[in-house]
Subunit: 299 residues, 2 copies
């Protein structure tokens, strides 16, 4: 089955002490769509300016991503620029130019309005609502978010949560939302806000699912070197949704394995700047790491 | 088989915003010995003063801990006092009185000198050396440590590492020792210092083993409430060594499961002040959580 993914489509300029990587393909929808494309057909919903490099449109197409929902408008593509410290652990935003993103209103082509799997990747909650309003009887809807929306659009986000099947956020966002240090208690509090499935991402410490079948402790694939974690969270949730859309059987029967596939897809994302590493792998590379992860966790 | 455990035997006074817990039984050897006692016979090596409460000697005995190596000397028992902040995440040392611990020299009774499994729990590396000097042909020797010894006794610790089979430390200590942020790279660097098995503890994020069979990602048992993490690391390594000493087959065949048992034993430790919770459980309670952990990690 297909996955519809709405989110940001951006150009990321990433500086490190030793390298500059100007205008890489980035944004939550780009990362999530490429990740999901290893498993299922993807329908991307987003906006870019008329400066958007053709090579990135070709990159989407190579991943068989349906671009009927991608608006190309006169003006500049959303551009984010950031700088890493020497140990790669801290990132500082240098510049954010919204460009055509500032007035983005995601209108869904008719063909997209019955997509069974919907990923509302990180974007303003108002836009997540707007996309969901246009979808008819989706099978499974998941949203991701970021601290920015907790700060400036919390009421919109709180109205979104009861409309979701699943909600994904990281540990510091879960703390911000619930004022809980303990992530298992935070998960229970977030369920009360609406979603049946809640996933807290903990970076290199893996992730935790809380759902109808209880908790699942999902490991992260061990990486001796992290080049650039930008987009890893988007890759995780994109890979997970792609896997779920392709799997037979119930969500409960598949979601743990889907998280493992998402986790492994995210591990590749961390091994290169932007999407440079993820776009070089094949499904077989993902399968191989999933098998390794099985061995690394067996007891 | 038996496990010999040397470490501190102390009285811990733990203050929280809502309670005071004066003179609880504490110390690395106390926590590790009680944890190991669920699986194997334990020989404790340590020192206490003549103020040491009789009820704690009885507690050791109830756990069938052999006290032939516990010196009771005129003077005061090592006393540590600390205070927790409201969120229980930060602990501040209020007082450290070494007492009889200041001049402790662990002499092993003859009966103890051939113990097959040896745990050098957290204590000065010079004392860990001194105990190891007295042991004949041990089967498996593991040491734990703490940041204090990295700061004030690093040369002694570096001389100890090649004498060990296994070395256990937490993530911030691993960073301090290797200057590495990435724990998988840190593990490789620590192997070069001597030990064949290296385990990095990450608190609620579990632990990582690096050994001849590669990495093992060991989960922590999910706790919705942590009352007092003091002694959790000692309980982990104590439980692990107790399980290994009881298991048939090679270390490689058993160490992953041993870590799981250690992890679960540590989870009970966190649910009460000092040893109050751990001393109320039975082996069956541990087995039940291990089964749960199997379910929580299956995919």
């Amino acid at each position: 089955m297909s996955v519809l993914i709405v989110g940001s489509t951006a150009l990321d300029s990433i500086k490190t002490p030793t390298a500059e990587n100007p205008r890489l393909l980035g944004g939550s929808a780009s990362h999530a769509s490429v990740a999901a494309s290893f498993f299922s057909p993807v329908r991307l919903v987003g906006v870019v300016g008329d400066d958007f490099p053709k090579k990135y449109l070709e990159l989407y197409r190579r991943h068989k991503i349906d671009l009927a929902g991608l608006q190309i408008l006169p003006g500049k593509t959303f551009h984010w620029s950031g700088e890493y410290e020497a140990n790669m652990n801290h990132r500082r935003t240098l510049l954010t130019e919204l460009g055509v993103f500032e007035t983005f209103s995601p209108g869904l082509p008719k063909s997209h309005q019955t997509t069974p799997f919907v990923l509302l990747a990180n974007i303003a909650p108002a836009l997540q609502h707007h996309v969901l309003d246009q979808i008819r009887r989706p099978k499974f809807v998941v949203a991701d978010t970021m601290d920015l929306w907790l700060n400036i659009a919390l009421p919109d986000l709180l109205k979104l949560l009861p409309r979701l099947d699943g909600f994904v956020l990281n540990d510091s966002e879960a703390h911000q939302l619930t004022q809980e240090d303990n992530m298992f208690t935070a998960l229970k509090k977030i369920h009360k806000l609406g979603p049946k499935y809640v996933i807290i991402k903990k970076g290199s410490h893996g992730s935790i699912l809380s759902g109808p079948k209880g908790f699942f402790l999902c490991p992260a694939y061990p990486l001796p070197k992290v080049v650039d974690p930008t987009g890893a969270g988007d890759s995780f949730v994109g890979g997970m949704m792609g896997y779920l859309a392709a799997a037979r059987g119930s969500i409960d029967a598949n979601i743990r394995r889907a998280m493992i596939y998402g986790s492994v897809t995210a591990s590749f994302c961390c091994e290169g700047f932007g999407l440079t590493r993820t776009t070089k792998i094949k499904r077989a590379d993902i399968d191989r790491r999933v098998k390794e992860l099985e061995k690394l966790t067996r007891f």
